[in-house]
């Protein structure tokens, strides 16, 4: 009944149980470590149970041919995993989780291998039994991990080098793949081992490049953009701002949900609203309700629409606090980009405070066009 395998797992699960209890008592309750240890415990117990079940029908005779049992990688891997696990308890959670994964994977492999080697006397049959159980998980895991590492490394390289160099190296890499493929196709004499060799060299090269790329970090313009949030400020002045107004959007696709279409035509600013038959200079917008204005510029110069968001209750954000309409340069306002003649842009605003709470009315204006202003009345 109890043999080496089952004893090992029973012992290990006992050890895990002990650790779990110690962890819960000494470290913390219901933390990730506790969950993980209970998972380890459950897994080990399960493994022990499987070993017992499988060996149930087995007679006590050992396989006659000891040579059947080959060298195994798994004990070593298990040890690596346990080291990671312990390291994780001390250093960081991620190592701990990694350790659990490695230990579980190694033990599973070990178990299945050990079991399959004693399954029958026929090594081929034993191997096929092992494969049937493990290939479905080995194939995808190895493929996914390998691919993931290569793809990720590749992206790190691209992130580290300049934009144009990135495009060039991208096409060079792809062409190399294509060329080598074509070469092999045209020269049937070349050995498959060579193909594999080149693939491996390429992969190693990319991974190495990736590590180097990760070391370098982001290329300068990306790092700068990430640091300064180039596109997160709205600069609502007359002049063109460097980032916010770069390549202004000229078209809208969704035009059905506008509260008003604000047009700048012949130097006049007016609002066209559903239900009103003439252009309006006064818009009533209900309080705390997101309203979308579509701004259309028919002026030959590039223009933007600026919405003042009032000055009610200093400090309280007038717009939704998730940073949609940031206040810029102390002025509480938001705006569209500078758009050329014939273009249109949408601006979604939420007026949280009513007009009576303001010292100045809410307005829609176009910088550089004097005397034209639409009042937004929030009752």
């Amino acid at each position: 009944m109890f043999k080496t395998g089952s004893k090992l797992f029973l012992g290990l699960s006992g050890f895990a149980a002990f650790n779990l209890v110690a962890y819960v008592i000494f470290v913390e309750r219901l933390a990730i470590g506790g969950v993980a240890l209970s998972l380890v415990f459950a897994a080990l117990t399960g493994l022990a149970a499987i070993v017992l079940l499988i060996n149930e029908g087995d007679n006590e005779r050992q396989p006659r041919d000891a040579a059947l049992i080959g060298a195994s990688l798994w004990p070593l891997t298990t040890v690596v995993g346990i080291v990671l696990l312990i390291l994780g308890l001390i250093v960081a959670q991620i190592y701990f989780i990694l350790g659990i994964v490695v230990v579980l994977a190694a033990l599973a492999e070990w178990l299945v291998q050990a079991w399959s080697e004693s399954a029958s006397d026929d090594p081929a049959h034993n191997e096929s039994a092992r494969q049937r159980l493990l290939h479905p998980i080995e194939f995808p895991v190895i493929a996914t991990l390998g691919l993931g590492v290569v793809i990720f490394s590749f992206s790190r390289i691209m992130l580290a080098i300049s934009k144009s160099a990135g495009a060039v190296s991208f096409i060079v890499a792809a062409s190399l793949v294509l060329l080598i493929g074509a070469l092999f196709a045209l020269r049937p004499a070349l050995k498959p081992a060579l193909v594999s060799g080149i693939c491996v060299i390429g992969a190693v090269g990319i991974v190495a490049g990736g590590i180097a790329g990760a070391g370098i970090g982001l290329r300068s313009d990306l790092a700068e953009a990430a640091e300064e949030g180039h596109y997160l400020h709205r600069e609502c002045g007359v002049e063109k701002s460097k980032y916010f107004d770069k390549k202004a959007m000229k078209n809208l696709s969704l035009r059905s949900n506008a509260a008003a279409i604000v047009e700048l035509r012949d130097g006049k600013l007016s609002a066209i609203m559903v239900g009103f038959n003439t252009p309006q200079q006064l818009i009533t917008a209900s309080r705390a309700n997101p309203v979308t204005f579509i701004f259309r510029n028919f002026d030959p110069t590039e223009r933007r629409l600026v919405a003042s968001l009032g000055n009610a209750m200093a400090g309280a954000p007038a717009a939704e606090s998730d940073g949609e309409e940031a206040d810029h340069a102390g002025k509480n306002e938001t705006c569209t980009q500078l758009i050329p003649k014939g273009a249109e842009q949408a601006l979604t605003i939420k007026y949280n405070k009513p007009t009576i709470a303001q010292t100045e009315p809410f307005t829609l204006t176009v910088p550089g066009v004097a005397g034209q202003s639409i009042e937004v009345l929030v009752p």
Partner: protein, 403 residues
């Protein structure tokens, strides 16, 4: 009336078998506040004129089919006749039986087309009212329209007041989820979709109150989201407009109502605006529902007692007797009765007090703090304020002055 009942009779199978006496009963139907077959304005009438013949034709076709099936059941029941000839159909018959309904529908289609575009017109509008849906009440605001004497925006809730014989256009939107505005006697429904503005034409022929209900599922208290449209004659409407814009009258010092005002300033004004209400220091009291309620708005209570309902028209401000008096008033007398508003003798104190005592208990709302994590602690609907009974007394006295 008679024709309508005749046609609606074809709807149910049971009513197919209805006798003449049932028909008589049917024509006696009274006080059906949301009947879709009793148009009280040209828009609803246009729909009614379209649906009557359609129902009639549908009913006739239904009877023909039922008769044919019934005849076949009776005539061809297995009485030991031989197995019939295995015929596979008569294409000519098939084609003609396909073409006939297609033609009928084509005719219906032409009239439908016309009605759709007529009902979508906005160019003949005489009065614009903005309607904003919110869980679970409607806000009405009347944008400035000098020709109607509206020189500053009027904001109201619960009851939509409109002049008779006027082409009113509602501009609907919503603050949170989709609602639908529906006064069956005046027009079909139109959804109020957040972010979008939809229009709905309303026109009432005679003074009176027309009931309606939110018809797009909008969450917990969808069933309690009602509305009433009040039609007034032009003169009465002008009076109503003038009163709505009249300045705030603070209650006299030393009255219970004055104490109520300070309770209101302490509690209610966090969300509810009363235009013109001033704090003790003389500053305007400005409600900040955006800091307390998820939707960022709460009903504006200015001139509350000129309305007949509260809490999203779920409750009446009038006692039942007084309410009936208004609802059933003759056209000529209606305006005066309605403009009389709510006084102490008519106030539905029970419901109002229950509401002030613990609102979420009488109307399901998301006011449980445990469930407010997604809204950063903001309520959806009115919470339980934990007012004492004496505070409620004071508040009721104060609210009665809001006329």
């Amino acid at each position: 009336m008679k024709v309508r009942r005749l046609t609606s009779r074809y709807l149910g199978p049971r009513s197919l078998a209805a006798s003449g006496s049932l028909l008589l009963l049917a024509s006696c139907a009274t006080n059906a506040p949301q009947d879709t077959w009793q148009p009280k304005g040209p828009n609803a009438k246009m729909i009614d004129d379209l649906q009557q013949p359609v129902f009639a034709v549908a009913g006739i076709i239904g009877i023909i089919v039922a008769a044919c099936v019934g005849f076949a059941i009776w005539r061809y029941k297995d009485r030991g006749q031989p197995i019939p000839e295995q015929t596979h159909g008569k294409p000519a018959l098939e084609v003609s039986l396909t073409v006939i309904p297609a033609l009928i529908l084509a005719v219906v289609g032409v009239f439908t087309f016309r009605a759709i575009f007529d009902l979508a017109r906005t160019d003949d509008t005489q009065l614009v009212i903005n309607v904003t849906g919110q869980q679970w009440w409607w806000e009405y605001d009347y944008p400035v329209q000098n020709e109607w004497g509206i020189t500053q925006p009027i904001i109201s809730s619960g009851q939509l007041v409109l002049p008779i014989g006027t082409k009113v256009l509602l501009r609907e939107t919503s603050r949170d989820v989709i609602h639908s505005y529906w006064i069956p006697a005046l027009n079909g429904k139109r959804d109020a979709v957040p972010g979008r503005v939809h229009t709905l034409r309303l026109q009432a022929d005679a003074p009176g109150i027309y009931a309606g209900q939110c018809t797009e599922f909008c969450g917990l208290s969808h069933a309690n989201m009602r509305m009433e449209a009040v039609a007034l004659s032009d003169a009465d409407f002008a009076k109503w407009v003038a009163n709505q814009q009249a300045a705030y009258q603070a209650p006299a010092e030393g009255t219970l109502a004055k104490e109520g005002e300070s309770v209101f300033l302490n509690q209610c004004v966090r969300c509810h605006q009363v235009s013109g209400l001033k704090r003790a220091d003389g500053s305007l009291a400005i409600a900040a529902p955006d800091e307390n309620v998820w939707s960022g708005a709460a009903p504006n209570l200015t001139k509350l007692m000129t309305r007949n309902t509260f809490a999203g028209a779920m409750f009446n401000l009038l006692r039942d007797a007084c309410r009936d008096d208004v609802w059933r008033a003759e056209s000529a007398a209606f305006g005066e009765k309605y403009l009389g508003g709510v006084d102490e003798s008519c106030l539905n104190v029970n419901d109002l007090r229950a509401w002030l005592r613990n609102a979420p208990e009488v109307k399901p709302m998301y006011a449980n703090p445990a469930l407010l994590t997604d809204t950063n602690g903001k309520y959806r609907g009115m919470p339980n304020l934990g007012l004492s009974e004496s505070d409620i007394d004071k508040l009721v006295a104060y609210l009665l002055t809001l006329k």
